[in-house]
Amino acid sequence: MEFEDEIFNDGLSKAYYKHNDNGQYVLEKDAPWAEKVSVALIISSRRALLEEIRKEVLAGRKSPLCYYMEMRQLDPGMLAKAAGIATFRVKRHLRPEVFARLNPSVLDRYTKALRVTLEELKTVPNG
C-alpha cells in the first residue's frame, strides 16, 4: 500500500461536494488525490524532521526539549507562551548543556505545556 493510502485508511472519512449526473450537488466521502498527496508530503516531511532531531539529540547536539517541541508541532514562541517562559530562555534551553542544568520548577512547566512525564522529557526514545 502506498503511504498516502495508508494514512487515509483510518476510518474517519470527511465529506466532499460532488456534482452528480443530474447536475445536483451531493456529499461524497472519497478524498481527492491532490489532498492525499499533499497531506502525505507534509506528514512524511514532518516525520523525517523529527527523526533527524532525535538523532541529533542522541549525538548530543540538541536538547530533548527540542524533540518534544517538534513532536507537539510548536515553535519556540508558541512553547514559550504555553509554558510561561520567555522566548529567549526557551531558545537557550534547546542547547543540551543548558538544558542539563535546569532546575525542577522549570522542567515542571515544560512537562505541563508539552504533556510529557519528567522522565520522558529528559531523554528521547532510543532506536
Partner: protein, 344 residues
Amino acid sequence: MTTEHTATGKPYVHYHAAHCESGVTSAFFRDKGVDISEPMVFGIGSGIFFGYLPFLKAAGMRVSTFRSQPGAIFRKVARRLDGDFVVKTYRNPQKGMDELRRVLKTGQIVGLKTNLYWLPYFSERFRFNFSGHNLIVLRETKEGFRISDPTLEHPVDCPAADLERARFARGPMESHGYMYYLKSVNPHPDLRQACIKGMIDSCNLMLRIPLPIFGIRGIRFQARKIIDSPDKLGFNEACRLLADVIRWLEDTGTGGAGFRYMYAAFLQEAAELLRSAELAGLSEEMTAIGHDWRKFSLAATRIIKQRKQFEQTFAEAGGLMHGCADREEKFFKNLRKVAGKMKV
C-alpha cells in the same frame, strides 16, 4: 445521520458536513427547528473568500485561506436570520469549563473553537497545530463530553482534560476558550433577503478590499509568488509552498476545490428559492471555476510528485491560478449585478 440526545433528553440529529463552521451553524439552526442546509449557511454567512497571509504560520504552514475569518460565518448567519446568540471567550480555563457545563445542563448545545492537535479522536493526518476547528458539545458524560463533530460521520467522545487543552491551546490565532450558542431563532426567517445580503457581502469582500493580499488581488499575488518560488526558494521549499496551498485548498474541510463547489451548491439552492435563471447560470459558472481550481491542485500535485511525463512547471501552475483569478473576478462582478437587481 445519527440520532443523539442532549442533557435534557431532547433528540439531536447529527449530519455529516464538509466544513466545520458552516456544519456547526447549520446544526444549531436545525436543532432550533429551522431546516437549513450547510451550503445555504455558507452562502448566507458570506463564507467564500481568499486571503494569502504569508506572515502568519500555523504549524510551519503558510496560511492561504479560502474562507472568511473563523467565527464570521456563525455571527453573520445568526444576524441575517434574526437569531439571538451568545459569544464568549475566557482567560481562565477553569471558568470556561464551568460555564460550558452550566450551559450544557440547560439542554443547550454549545459550539466551541478548538485546536485540532489536541483533539484525541482524530488520526495523525488531521492533527496539526491550528486553533480554528469548530465542533458541537452535546452533553457531559461520565468520562468527558459527547461531541458532534460535523466533519465526522458519527458523534464521538472526548475526555474533559483533552477538550480543555484544545480550547485553551496557545499559539497563533488563540481561541481563548471561544464558545458560542444560539439562544433562540425566528422560526420563519426571511431566507431570500438573507441570501441576497450574503451574496452582496461576498462580492464586496472578494472585489473591494484595497489590500493586495485579500480577494481577487490576493489570488493574483499568490500566483505571482508561486511562479517566482523555484528561483527564489529552491525546488524543495517551493514544493512545500505548493503543498501548503493544496492543503488549504483541498484538505481543511473545504468540501473540495477551496469551497468553490460548496458555493456552487449554495447558488443552486438560492436559484430555486429566488426562482432566478441567472443564479442557476452563475452556479454552473462557479462549478466550472471549481473545476479550474481542481486542475490547479492536480498540476501542483504532479509537480510535488515529480511525475516527469506530465512536464508540469511552476509557471503553468501559477498560470492556472491566474486563470482562476480572472474567472472569479468576472463571476463576482456578474453576481454583484444580479444580486443588486433582486435587492429591495
